[in-house]
Symmetry: C2
Subunit: 277 residues, 2 copies
Amino acid sequence: MISREQLIQQIKQKKSFLCVGLDTDIDKIPAFLKQYPDPIFEFNKRIIDATRDLCVAYKPNAAFYEKHGVKGLQSLIATSRYLPEDCLSIIDAKRGDLGNTSEMYAKAFFDEASSGMSFDSITVSPYMGSDSVMSYLAYPDKWVIILALTSSIGSKDFQYLHTGEGYLYEAVIKKANTWAGADRIMYVVGATKSLEFVDIRKIAPDHFLLVPGVGAQGGSLEEVCRYGMNKDCGLIVNASRSIIYASNGEDFAEAARAEALKVQQQMQVELEKAGVI
Amino acid sequence: MISREQLIQQIKQKKSFLCVGLDTDIDKIPAFLKQYPDPIFEFNKRIIDATRDLCVAYKPNAAFYEKHGVKGLQSLIATSRYLPEDCLSIIDAKRGDLGNTSEMYAKAFFDEASSGMSFDSITVSPYMGSDSVMSYLAYPDKWVIILALTSSIGSKDFQYLHTGEGYLYEAVIKKANTWAGADRIMYVVGATKSLEFVDIRKIAPDHFLLVPGVGAQGGSLEEVCRYGMNKDCGLIVNASRSIIYASNGEDFAEAARAEALKVQQQMQVELEKAGVI
């Protein structure tokens, strides 16, 4: 559990708004880890140990674990339990469904007694509307992170459709703003969309935005900050592959730390520039 | 694996286009099942045995299994392996994500060697566009079932937004029609939307539509058929709670069969009325 105030405090203390994406792929982790009973967890554990003072959030991508069936879920559960309490834990699951089904997903990801996992937040696809979100919001102190504008090529298919409420992604933000405030909802906005941050900040000035797409996907941290940062920072920028696969030798954790440190130092510059710290 | 032709043949043979939704909730199944090592699978097994000649599809709702963590996933895997080959197996998972992530979800639900599960089809949320769908379509003979118009209250939030391509749900169908044909893609259309079927049939005359919301959610089978049926039937109508929870005593499987039979008989009337059989 990490509140908005605690998150802001963490950002100021660590001079970082980095989220490390745990998109852990068995085919990409160092070969020597395969001697361990749970190589994926072993990898994550060492990545976490090496980066926890440099980042404010971790985001396992559910798909990478589900791929391996029961074994993968065990790795995800072990990882969720190992995540440090001072970091926001995000399960990148993109579940969105009817109310009674979303209740079940909420138990899956928020209720340790039910599933073995308790993340602080979950990413949700908004297509099915309020139903998709309300069941998660019923958990006090948990966050819902709603897809608004994503960074992939497919984002053009629907997210930029003109609606009576602006582009679809703007309509999503405006509507979701009526469901809860900036202390319970965040939005996903891809890093490759720098100029759109300007319009998004008009309708979501205070919200935290979870920003994937810096690093391997080509987004610029400086541009994201120029257009997206607010007085509390208001950004959590995710990097996955560029950090966790910085090396695939025995030094992978140190290499990940070096890469995370580089990002943290850039973030410190941006936080100072904007007067957040 | 079940092709479009095989599905149509099954419908004609069984005189049914029923999908039994396996939204199996531990709190709602008969108490005596709790003596079994895997009560959820035991319940599903008996429901399947009792209904397999009356339906053409089964649809486990992933959330109900994920809720229970590793145990739940084991129940889902066991259920997936027990599903009869002559029925379309649908995992109702509503996953939609970037290309490389959707690839992982495809392995989770389509690739038995990877995850232990191989469903014929998956429901997908379209918000992220083509990326969400292409990785699933890469599996020949598998189906993608795209959310178009859902039956919940939240469907009003975005699906009815006016876009340059009609309502958002129409824009989704038109765009998805360019990704693959009626032999690979189906659309979810809620049963409470009878009149909208008319417009949907104008842009998707040949597609199968997966129709939840008959039964517990109040949709009318007759209306769905009047407006939605095409010459090949073109409908798979799902019922979950009304069938699987028809009784919560020791006779639950017989009660489920009786309820499924009632629906099948109504479906036979509709198929005859429309000249499909």
